[in-house]
């Protein structure tokens, strides 16, 4: 203990004070993560987003557990009929497959980015953005159907527990906002790839960072699909 005190005392005498000291202490002239800073920051952002989505899903769990009123059966609520018998959850299943497909095209885009194949990278990113946009479109259709036809409101619905509406709109709305932001993000980076903005440096790391965000959006949907729609 005594030696610790003297050591830190000796160290304090050699480092600068004030704001310079503050930055020096935090950076310590060391690098923790052996990845480009952009990638580390994206991961940390995604970590914070994980906490936000978990808060939403946990509050959903809490209200669903604590209500006396039966929870509306998602299998029936989200069923869709194409002329014949209603098929349970079919639209949600299609949306799930679309998002997985877009994750696959994104993974390929990252790969072609590192090969510096600009045309293929941009094309795959545009396909990814297009699939994301169609996902948001289907979500808009789903919301419209639920609000206009089924009478679901954030405070009530004819099928059961009133909390169904508020948690549904909050969780899928927040996820949909992430998908929409991702579509814009993808389109911007894809355009820059196409223009050859990264040719000078030959650094296509940005494609992987964009990919991290996009895969995260898919990842969150895996949890929403399991807990909200299937449970």
């Amino acid at each position: 203990m005594a030696s610790d005190v003297t050591e830190s005392g000796a160290a304090a005498a050699t480092v600068p004070e004030g704001f310079q000291g503050l930055t020096r202490d935090w950076s310590s002239d060391k690098q923790t993560f052996q990845v480009p800073w952009g990638k580390a920051m994206m991961w940390i952002f995604l970590l914070s987003d994980t906490f936000i989505f978990t808060c939403f899903l946990t509050s959903y769990m809490n209200v669903r557990m604590s209500t006396r009123v039966p929870w509306p059966n998602p299998s029936e609520v989200f069923a869709l009929s194409f002329g014949g018998e209603p098929i349970p959850l079919i639209l949600i299943a299609i949306m799930t497959f679309i998002l997985i497909t877009s994750s696959g095209t994104m993974a390929l885009a990252v790969n072609y980015g590192y090969r510096r194949d600009r045309a293929k990278t941009a094309a795959l990113m545009f396909i990814t953005a297009g699939l994301g946009a169609s996902f948001v479109g289907m979500q808009a259709f789903e919301w419209t159907k639920l609000i206009a036809d089924e009478g679901v409101r954030p405070w009530s619905n004819p099928m059961g527990a009133p909390q169904f509406g508020s948690t549904f709109f909050m969780i899928t709305g927040f996820h949909g906002a992430h998908v929409s932001a991702g579509v814009i993000y993808l389109a911007v980076v894809a355009l820059k790839v196409l223009k050859g903005d990264y040719e000078a440096s030959g650094n296509y790391q940005i494609v992987e960072i964009t990919g991290l965000y996009w895969h995260f959006v898919d990842l969150v949907w895996v949890f929403i699909f399991a807990f909200f729609y299937l449970w």
Binding site: A93, A107, P158
Partner: protein
């Protein structure tokens, strides 16, 4: 193969994981389509969910090839969320019992 921050892997691994995610999604949809109930349903949902999440994080997000400092920094903190989930489950249970105690069983009648 994976040098500093450079994650380039053979295309085949992505295609395989892609196929796998499709299969797992089909399985999880089938859980609802077939109509499994109770603990069988919940455990199947969780198994398929964690398998999908694991493949996305490990392969698509390249976490399997990152250094352990980054892996622990990102995957460690969410473990704390288990405490939140546990506490809120206990709280939800208590709220339900209190409501049943004061208001009795539900008088809700579905509209259709």
């Amino acid at each position: 193969m994976a040098t500093e921050g450079h994650q380039e892997h053979p295309l085949s691994i992505y295609l395989w994981i892609w196929v796998l995610l499709f299969v797992l999604s089909t399985f999880s949809y089938m859980v609802d389509y077939i109509g499994f109930e109770g603990y069988l349903r919940w455990s199947l949902i969780l198994i398929f969910m964690f398998a999908k999440a694991g493949f996305i994080i490990a392969i698509f997000m390249h976490m399997a090839w990152e250094r352990i400092a980054l892996i622990y920094a990102i995957l460690g903190p969410p473990v704390l969320l288990l405490f939140l989930i546990g506490l809120m489950a206990v709280e939800g249970d208590y709220t339900l019992l209190t409501r049943l105690d004061f208001f009795g069983e539900t008088d809700f009648v579905a509209a259709h």
